[in-house]
Symmetry: C2
Subunit: 409 residues, 2 copies
């Protein structure tokens, strides 16, 4: 039964990458000997894949499996104009990546909202510097991703596009979805928030009504003059729990606390980034006084930021594009839990590629904001899907995605 | 803990919104908004295993794959009498575990050196309380191991025996060794130390000579009156780097620092647990003053201990039997690195089962002390092997072990 399941998944992976099953690399199946109930008396060496006897690495994979990285710029068309305090836009540029190795293809993505500083040009510039041919196997992810991280500072989304493609590749080669390798129950995830954009009351009510069947928690961008009006308009339609994201919008802590008390009365359940990201003393005071949990977004980017945020925020918002990808996201999640902090999984506007990667590792978190792929009209991947208000990873190996035909990356 | 924590948060959130828990949104419609397959291309659902369409979990595994846990007490016969400051012994009791599921068997082990408080009886008592039949699949390791951890406090080795067997089982079902899933190069590991026991000069020299071809770093237990004599005896035979483990043996920090300065002159490269485990202020001073890195052993047990040791020790010694197994060891390793601390992998006297589990996750660490299985005359597993002074995991899936015929667990 196990064998057939794995065989099926590998078949799916092969189909997903457009290959025939027969062309799957021999090394992919190397681990299956161990699936047999161990018969006592076999010597270890007789059970090893051939590569193992000659010092081959990575579960018997051919020692010289070279990886090839490629990419394509792509523009996401937003279903609706997106407004947060400051500006509006109708599209988001991304770069789609893939890493091919031994006939298996892993897919990745860099999403580039304009306010974060990376562009399609800067991502491609970065990707041109990535020389994966120096590694003998994709299995050495720690070494590979450390090398990628050291190519240049910043460039977090570009790094994430390599990280995600590598995870997808390795997961497909192993034949398992990452949620299995992380040991997570993919269905035990928090409801995703769905953002209601800032607009006039009639539009807000209409958007809220549209969301009602599909979502169990909504999100509102606050920090401007429209906050109370927006909340009131939503509350005239639904009693669903609401999250608010102030995007650093409140400048004074007393004002912020007053607003949070008002929000609590209105059924808001959490607050993201209430004040400017460097005002940590004020935020620590606010978190101490606040009746609602306060999450860091702009104040936290990578693993190394986390330690100084204990006692400042209640929790952190982990986004793959900020933190360089799945590998560091997983470490941040574990570190935050070790520090006694809450954790949420967030996203940019991005395709089902990056959303599916995030969906592999957020089981057991406190909140989720994974509506990114639901906001675009030209998603070029199938993968994690919205089910009863939750984003649920597929059962395919790797990050669990299949590119749509027209993607042509 | 995940479950109860999340339940608590949801309850809190409900209370915060002024709603009753019962009135929380049940999440009615399974909307597929925005993530529907396009008309062109394969639809994702057609590629999913049957279980995927009906909300099946864990990569399409049959929902009722039950796990069976069993165990066997076993006594390890030491090749040589083992002496550390305090006492000597000729054997170490262990409990061997296995978890069977769908015809696949995972192996685990609890090693029980007498000074740590657990016994074969206490481990078996604990294992009797573990009801794995409540879980539908071994893939949900986080939930399962959180449940196991919450059965009772302490019992770390008993918990590790379940953790290791579960990792072995899941790795075999997935068909990959854990070092691949951790993304590590299994050969990029530090040399293992080999301990030269406290004895008279002739025996010490003889033991040192015997170790010379096989090991690149030796370890000496210090903290007693024989320290300098032992080091001198070894130094009369070899210039190999040496590690020392004081096992809390130095009672006064000035005396400890003097000794460390002497040791540095003799080519010692690291010091483990110089002073009593609770004397953190003295140890912090010592670490600050010491020309050698100072590692915590008795002062650190689990993930939750780690945070307060930053600035106290240079690094930590992670042992599966102390920290409840591979899952927490991996988190400790990542947390230590995030805190800027060094890491070493240690062990008890244990079979190649637990040693092979440790060998999956220590690539890239600073030091290793994994000679446990080399010290016993009746190792009942084949697995990781000594190669050029390093313990290298096999290429088999899971933890990479095969039980020897006589094990009959």
């Amino acid at each position: 039964m196990q064998y057939s399941r794995r065989h099926f998944i590998k078949t799916s992976a092969a189909l997903a990458t457009g290959l025939s099953v027969a062309s799957l690399p021999a090394g992919v199946n190397a681990g299956q000997k161990g699936m047999k109930p161990s018969s006592s008396g076999n010597s270890l060496s007789s059970l090893l894949p051939a590569g193992g006897k000659t010092g081959g690495k990575a579960g018997g994979k051919a020692p010289s499996a070279k990886m090839k990285l490629s990419w394509k710029a792509y523009d996401l068309a937003l279903k609706h104009t997106f407004t947060i305090s400051g500006f509006s836009r109708k599209s988001t540029p991304v770069v789609l990546t893939k890493i091919e190795c031994d006939g298996v293809t892993g897919y990745g993505e860099a999403s580039l909202p304009p306010y974060l500083g990376e562009t399609q040009a800067s991502v491609i510039e970065f990707l041109k510097k990535v020389d994966l041919s120096r590694f003998s196997t994709p299995m050495h992810m720690e070494d590979i991703l450390t090398y990628v991280d050291n190519i240049a500072i910043n460039n977090s989304a570009a790094k994430a596009s390599v990280d995600i493609a590598l995870h997808d590749l390795v997961g497909k080669m192993i034949g398992a979805p990452w949620h299995n390798m992380y040991g997570l129950d993919k269905t035990e995830v928090p409801d995703t928030t769905f953002t209601i954009g800032i607009d006039n009351d009639e539009v807000v009510k209409e958007k809220t009504r549209e969301a009602l069947g599909d979502f169990n928690i909504l999100k509102v961008k606050v920090g401007g003059p429209d906050d109370k009006r927006m909340i009131k308009a939503i509350r005239s339609v639904t009693d669903l729990p609401l999250a608010v994201d102030a995007n650093q919008g409140w400048k004074e802590r007393g004002e912020a606390l007053d607003m949070i008390h008002w929000l609590k009365e209105e059924g808001i359940v959490m607050v993201e980034q209430p004040m400017p990201k460097l005002k940590l003393d004020d935020i620590a005071w606010l978190t101490e006084e606040s009746p609602l949990p306060i999450f860091a977004d702009e104040s936290v980017q990578r693993l190394s930021d986390l330690h100084r945020l204990k006692g400042v925020f209640s929790g952190i918002n982990i986004k793959l594009m900020k933190c360089t990808g799945m590998r560091e996201a997983w470490k941040m999640r574990n570190l935050a839990e070790a520090l006694g902090m809450k954790v949420m999984m967030g996203c940019m506007t991005e395709t089902s590629c990056a959303i599916s990667a995030a969906a592999q590792l957020y089981s057991g978190m406190d909140f989720a904001d994974l509506d990114g792929a639901l906001l675009i009209a030209n998603d070029c991947f199938e993968g994690a899907t919205l089910q009863n208000g939750k984003i649920i990873a597929s059962d395919l190996p790797g990050i669990g995605v299949v590119p749509k035909k027209e993607t042509a990356i």
